[in-house]
Amino acid sequence: MYSALLFKEWLKTRRVFFVALIVSLLVAGYVILTMNSHISANGVNILWLGMILKDCSFVDPVKYLPLAIGMALGIAQMAPEMSHKRLKLTLHLPYPHSRLVSLMLATGTIQLLVIFVLQAIVIAVYDATILPGEMVWRVLLTMLPWYLAGICAYLCVSAVCLEGTWYTRVILSLLGITLMMVMFLKPGVMAAYNSMIIVIIILILILAVLSFGSIARFKEGLQD
């Protein structure tokens, strides 16, 4: 049953997953090319100075990509469930509902982690050849909140898609938009969210609960 459920989730998300993976790697390549061209033009010392004194991380093109990927994956995975109320089929499967929803969310989250980790590895491996370890770490910490925002966006969109009533969908959407705005409050500052990483991780765990609420309301009959 477990493998069958994974198979179903994979069928829904595989296209978005591969497109997102390719785009992420292309963006990583763009970041590397940008840094490389700076080094070619000005030398690596100027690059270092720019990163230390001007907070220039060169990873800005990555910034909103995890957010877009998280939203796209959430829609690709959950919208088919709510189209024609197909969720009824899923909830009729002889499998505990709480485990069913957990598995759906875990599948999407793991796919996001694979995309984000691969992108981060590509950037970090290149950075490690030209930057000291401490600076590589700073670059990764700069990108980490963006990746976490991507997971938050995925969880919010999932809850919105699984919600049965427009009223609650609007409420959940507003909540999601507010959270995303908070996560992108400090533009251009490297590792600006270091002190908030734990808070964001706790927030992700809380957001994961939203989808369970949407399913519970669906089972109550709260559907437009």
Binding site: K8, L11, P80, H84, R86, K88, L89, L91, L93, Y95
Partner: protein, 300 residues
């Protein structure tokens, strides 16, 4: 659950549309093992609502529903495996292909019969790799039916299986389902808005009107006991018949009167005479289930 217990048991079910119109109040019915029961009613009488309640997608305002002896809000996954569900419009995972959907469902049901599914699919002349979203409504209905047959469940719950189907596919659906249900002693609870399809299929029926059950009986008993009388008379208007008269939905077109009743012919004649109507050429008309349904619920 013992053998003589009802497969579906509904007690004092009351439901409203939101906080507004009452759909029904104090609804009671049982579906015995091995019977095919059709829930009939006009649009908006609560057929799909009842199925949604029974399947746990809607919490009723009050009342108790049990399937295989378990309260519907606490049905175990093992019990759900014994129930096959057809959602209105033959909805399935349309992003899957014919082959993928069979493989997917086969993992959940211990009595899965792959051959039953592919026997039906072979009649469709479609490729195993064809995606369900690219199929016609009729073809999708056969996929849904094939999955139900393959699941080999003890209880089949079918919500408006005839929706969107042309006569050929409807007939195919009914014939397959009837043969399967009777040969395997399955219990079936179904709704359809095309009553003539159900006549070939169901043993028992519940006819719902707005807010109440009009009758719950076997189809054979309904067609035996419920009669349509026609006669001519010299009158421009018909009187109001009260409930005690047992006469329902009388209609007058020119001098031809048509009325329906569960009462015997003598009783009808007596009621008519007491209202000053002298019927001539009074006949009992042969009725189909659809005629009986319209007779009970009215044309409007």
């Amino acid at each position: 659950m013992t053998d003589n217990q009802a497969v579906i048991s509904v007690k004092n079910l009351t439901q409203r549309y939101g906080k507004g119109r009452l759909i029904y109040s104090g609804l009671n019915f049982d579906v015995p093992k091995g019977r095919i029961l059709g829930l009939l009613g006009k649009n908006g009488t609560g057929k799909t609502t009842t199925i949604n309640i029974l399947m746990g997608y809607l919490r009723p305002q009050s009342g108790e529903c049990r399937i295989f002896g378990e309260p519907i809000t606490e049905i175990r996954p093992e019990t759900r495996a014994r129930i096959a569900l057809l959602i209105e419009g033959h909805i399935q995972y349309s992003f899957m292909t014919i082959e993928q959907i069979e493989r997917f469902y086969s993992r959940f049901y211990p009595k899965w019969n792959k051959d039953a599914y592919y026997e039906l699919m072979n009649k469709l002349h479609v490729s195993p790799n064809q995606r369900i979203s690219t199929m016609s409504c009729g073809q999708r209905s056969q996929v849904a039916l094939g999955l139900i047959l393959a699941q080999n469940a003890d209880l089949l719950v079918l919500d408006d299986f005839s929706l969107g189907l042309d006569p050929g596919y409807r007939r195919l659906f009914v014939d397959y389902l009837h043969e399967f249900a009777k040969a395997e002693e399955k219990t079936v609870f179904m709704t359809s808005h095309i009553i003539q399809d159900l006549e070939r299929l169901i043993d028992d029926c519940i006819i719902l009107d707005y807010g109440k059950i009009l009758t719950q009986t076997s189809v054979a008993d309904l067609l035996r006991d419920f009669a349509c009388y026609t006669f001519t008379c010299d009158t421009d208007t018909l009187p109001e018949f009260d409930e005690a008269s047992g006469i329902v939905n009388p209609s007058l077109i020119r001098n031809e009167v048509e009325l329906y009743t569960f009462k015997p012919r003598e009783h009808v004649a007596h009621v008519l005479e007491s209202h000053g109507i002298s019927p001539s050429n009074m006949k009992r008309r042969e009725m189909s289930l659809e005629d009986a349904f319209i007779g009970l619920t009215g044309k409007y």
